[in-house]
Symmetry: C2
Subunit: 343 residues, 2 copies
DNA sequence: TTGTATGCGTTATCAT
DNA sequence: ATGATAACGCATACAA
């Protein structure tokens, strides 16, 4: 059987291709009566336009790319990315876009993105994440004229971004730890080339200083965003005797927790611990993790919205969406008994 | 500037479009000299064929879909799926295919897959997972003539599948627990509608019976594949006093571990625990998890290979690939001291 | 409001 | 071995 085409649908409805096309694309300027006739045929036949033909003729593929840099094989199993993908996927479904996923390592695939994705016109635009603030890839992509939205922070102000309020979040963490009367507050940061990590660090530092209790340099250790790295870094940190630790992600906090356990330290009595993200593992940790909540899934849907705007009007000024963060207190910083008292 | 087209490339190389096309698609029947000339122009200009045009003319999109059913929002954060996506993604990159990701819930999006993905001819084929053995969706898709590969088990033998050797793996778990001299061996299974769970259960049962120590019905509890459900199920199971537990996934084993801890039971002294998967969380658990290792990422790459075969020759008999499983002994079943002795 | 005609960039079939 | 030409299925500027 011959493939069902717009041509055939038009024929069955007794109209021209253009009219059928208009109806199918929801344009107006079609008599209701005719519109209904076409719609009926579509319903009856189950016609669906051919994606490639549409793309070729209309210059839009309705495919959105999500690009994630893979630092290590582990990265993708990070619940943060899982939540993000979830959000992007849902938004794509809702807005009738197809999601194309690109996991790439830094080296070989680096060139692959610009060339394969963009010049092939396969995707209309790209949501990209897990890059650092001045990632040259971002330049390549913008120069290539690819509509782009970054999840995270970037230095180029012409690129739309969606990001958590890292500044506010880190400040919340500092204030919480201070309010607990902790004296030796340390932190396991993310890599400083990451915009999010840098911002959180500055905000954390500032909040402590503002309280007259400046962050001591020897109580700062850096790790990438994995739990293993955080575990190792925490071991070094523990030698300096902190009584509180702010980890830049829940996943890292889990690593810190492990180090704490191995050192025989009790949480929160000996050391209070605060993470960042509030993804499922935070709640499941023992003890459950106090953390700074951010709306990762919403970041994903928001990114899609921004991208679609951008695609529609590439020349509009780059919007930057900042999503709220909040403090979620659990037992890694406040014993359950104390929580009950205050409740 | 006008878009770079095949036409233009041909012109620059002083050949016809057809010849240029042949060169670019690596077909033979072109004089080396001419071939080089075209290749040089391609190199120089950075020409990349327009994806949609290719699809339209050639009937192949070079896009492969990965469809994952979302039971709960949590599902995708399961490291199993993360590893699978990873494998599929890598295979797609290597084989010059684009990956399109479809996360769908059971209800609304159900119809969306067949219609949107398939009749639009957007994808050449689909890797699908997290369905149950007789999922009607699979029928819809095959009837629609979509090249399909299932990761997991299905009842329809005409569908190619790639799957772990669940039978062998479960048997390994049983034998290991038996070799430890455990007397009251229990299990937290996955949902029985899942082919993998059903197979593991039968094999586990059989292996115990073969050893003259049949599985006691009251030592069997069922959970979906989440840690929370496993935790709750394990609490019921613990009331029956098992001295060993086989959980059908690492993630569930983590839930069991939590229940064990809350019950004040020691692992492995009071209860030996074995999981399934050997994904990162297994190693990170306290104590580290003895588990049945399966090659999830490889399953992903294998699925892509199968799918590509299928696309090339849809009428060929459906191959079914079974990936090996193996026992990985860690401290959740054998104390470190004992491991050292035997090493 | 509707129809006509053209173009989108490639592959593939046929000559040559 | 190479080139001309007809699809592929749709959107859209333009004409009616």
């Amino acid at each position: 059987m011959a493939r069902l085409t717009l041509e055939r649908v038009a024929e069955l409805a007794g109209v021209s291709r253009s009219t059928a096309s208009r109806v199918i694309n929801g344009q107006d300027g079609v008599r209701p009566e005719i519109r209904k006739r076409v719609l009926d045929v579509v319903e009856l036949t189950g016609f669906v336009p051919h994606a490639a033909a549409r793309t070729l003729a209309g210059q839009r593929s309705r495919i959105l790319g999500l690009a994630i840099r893979q630092t290590t094989a582990q990265v993708f199993s990070d619940p943060y990315f899982a939540a993000l993908v979830q959000g992007v996927s849902r938004a794509c479904n809702d807005r009738d876009q197809t999601l194309s996923l690109f996991l790439f390592e830094s080296t070989h695939d680096h060139d692959l993105l610009p060339s394969r994705l963009l010049r092939t016109k396969l995707v209309d635009g790209l949501v990209i994440t897990a890059t650092y603030a001045d990632d040259p890839l971002l330049w390549q992509l913008t120069e290539a004229g690819v509509p782009l939205v970054v999840v995270g922070e970037v230095s180029n102000p012409d690129i739309p971004t969606v990001d958590a309020d890292n500044h506010g979040g880190a400040a919340l963490a500092a204030e919480h730890l201070l309010s607990l009367g902790r004296q030796r507050i340390g932190t396991v940061t993310g890599p400083m080339r990451s915009g999010a990590a840098a911002t959180r660090f500055r905000a954390f530092e500032r909040a402590l200083a503002a309280a007259g209790q400046p962050l001591q340099p020897d109580l700062v250790v850096e790790a990438d965003f994995t739990d293993d790295a955080a575990h190792d870094a925490a071991k070094r940190l523990l030698a300096r005797g902190p009584d509180a630790i702010f980890a830049f992600s829940d996943r890292m906090a889990l690593g810190v927790l492990r180090a704490l356990g191995e050192a025989g330290l009790s949480v929160p009595d000996d050391v209070a611990l605060v993470g960042f993200d509030d993804l499922p593992p935070a709640r499941l940790a023992r003890p459950p993790l106090t953390t700074i909540r951010q709306e990762v899934e919403q970041a994903g849907t928001e990114a899609v919205a921004l991208l679609l705007e951008r695609i529609q009007d590439p020349s509009a000024p780059a919007r930057r969406v900042e999503l709220p963060t909040s403090l979620v207190v659990r037992e890694s910083s406040v014993p359950r008994r104390a929580q009950e008292v205050s409740a």
